[in-house]
Symmetry: C2
Subunit: 282 residues, 2 copies
Amino acid sequence: MNIGIIGLGLIGGSIGLRLRKSNFGDKFIGTDSNQENASYAVRLGIVDEIIPLQDLVMQSSVIVLSIPVDGIKKILPIILNQINTNTVILDTGSTKYDICNQIHSHPKRNRFVATHPIAGIENSGPVSAYSNLFHKKKCIICDSELSAPDAMDVVTKIYSILKMRIIYMTSKEHDLDIAYISHLPHVISFTLASTVLKKFKNKEKIFNNMMGSGLNSTTRLAKSQPETWLPIFISNKKNLIQAIDFYIDDLNKFRNHLINKEFHDINQYMKKANDIKNKKYV
Amino acid sequence: MNIGIIGLGLIGGSIGLRLRKSNFGDKFIGTDSNQENASYAVRLGIVDEIIPLQDLVMQSSVIVLSIPVDGIKKILPIILNQINTNTVILDTGSTKYDICNQIHSHPKRNRFVATHPIAGIENSGPVSAYSNLFHKKKCIICDSELSAPDAMDVVTKIYSILKMRIIYMTSKEHDLDIAYISHLPHVISFTLASTVLKKFKNKEKIFNNMMGSGLNSTTRLAKSQPETWLPIFISNKKNLIQAIDFYIDDLNKFRNHLINKEFHDINQYMKKANDIKNKKYV
């Protein structure tokens, strides 16, 4: 059984490393639009061989589509046209509705499984990939009733090898919820980095002298790749704008309490926010 | 030489642990308005003995004032009235202008050194204290020309024992810059926690299922104590509101680019924010 990985970055690369270690699949073939990433992926043992996309699609029993979401949206219907009826294809994109909607009426829709392994980090590329990236994290599978049972079996087997906990929901629910849980924090973080960098333009030394661990953790996500994140923001635009508006509204509440010296209200606001202590992400 | 520590939480506790290990000072005496923290501090070896504030002030050669900034502002003039002219007193508050301004004309102003060791974490209390908390981090000393040379010698010696790098600036500059570098990230983080917790009220399971490391790091600061942070926000209100307004403006820019489909502008915005990669906080 050949495993084909389209997109040999952090996610595709880490999937390849783990599956190969587990002897799932016989041969690993890959492709990446970035030639440097492609050759790294072979050297790092993510895949056995780099082959053209067209050949990969024809030769793979399982296709992992781990490229930015705009790329997935574009290429998925084309791949579905080409695969035979036994091939299983899954994607790893961070938005799901757009992608599922695009192929909703495709005759081979049931060969596709829409997944979102929640495991991204701010680093990218095959050099950042490691086989334990997914360990004990969550993977959302969306609209699973539209996938064939045998395709679901293969994909759940893969995620169990990756040691992920699988959660099921609709692609619509996924996109709304993930707008708040992942996309909003990214926007918040990009904006914070933008604001402080502008403020300390030409005051680099002062900035370096004063930066503490607080700013470091709140701006970690601002190190993420625009190539990955802009397509996610575009694909989940409507929900993300709702989340940003909700957030700005909340921030204005805080600001107005401060201006109006409503300190008891700020205290309550912070006490409630402290509840995040009780949430564990793994 | 007796060292008196007023406030035996994370900062005061960690200072006590490190100084005692280094045999700086003979006897460590402490006081804390929280009796439980006080008795923990003795058990954890932060101080030798708990004594009433009044006695501590009279018996200490060096006084470390590590309580919330509203407390520092209130108590500092009283302590200055009581100490003899050889005593050295330093504070560790996260705002400096208010505190310095308050005692600007005090006849014993020069016995005081205004400091801000940038080393807070989201955990608090003597149980969170550890002797290496300050290792290689930055400490800002403000308005040092208003402190007596011998007081400066003692305080710089203390921070060199804590292995901190000392930076000098005015209390006014400090408060404006730290509003952006530390206080704004805290507000951002409290608000993000507030927004997502409200959104997922009664949807706890979904929240727990979807939370990833991104939200985890951006909401780390939202775990901080209101008792510490509300007084900081109040003390630095004017600068903080400026920073929040600047931030909201920047976030609205992002939002409007998204609404207006100005995707190239968002790409540039994110690319510039990526520059935060090149900043190291230690």
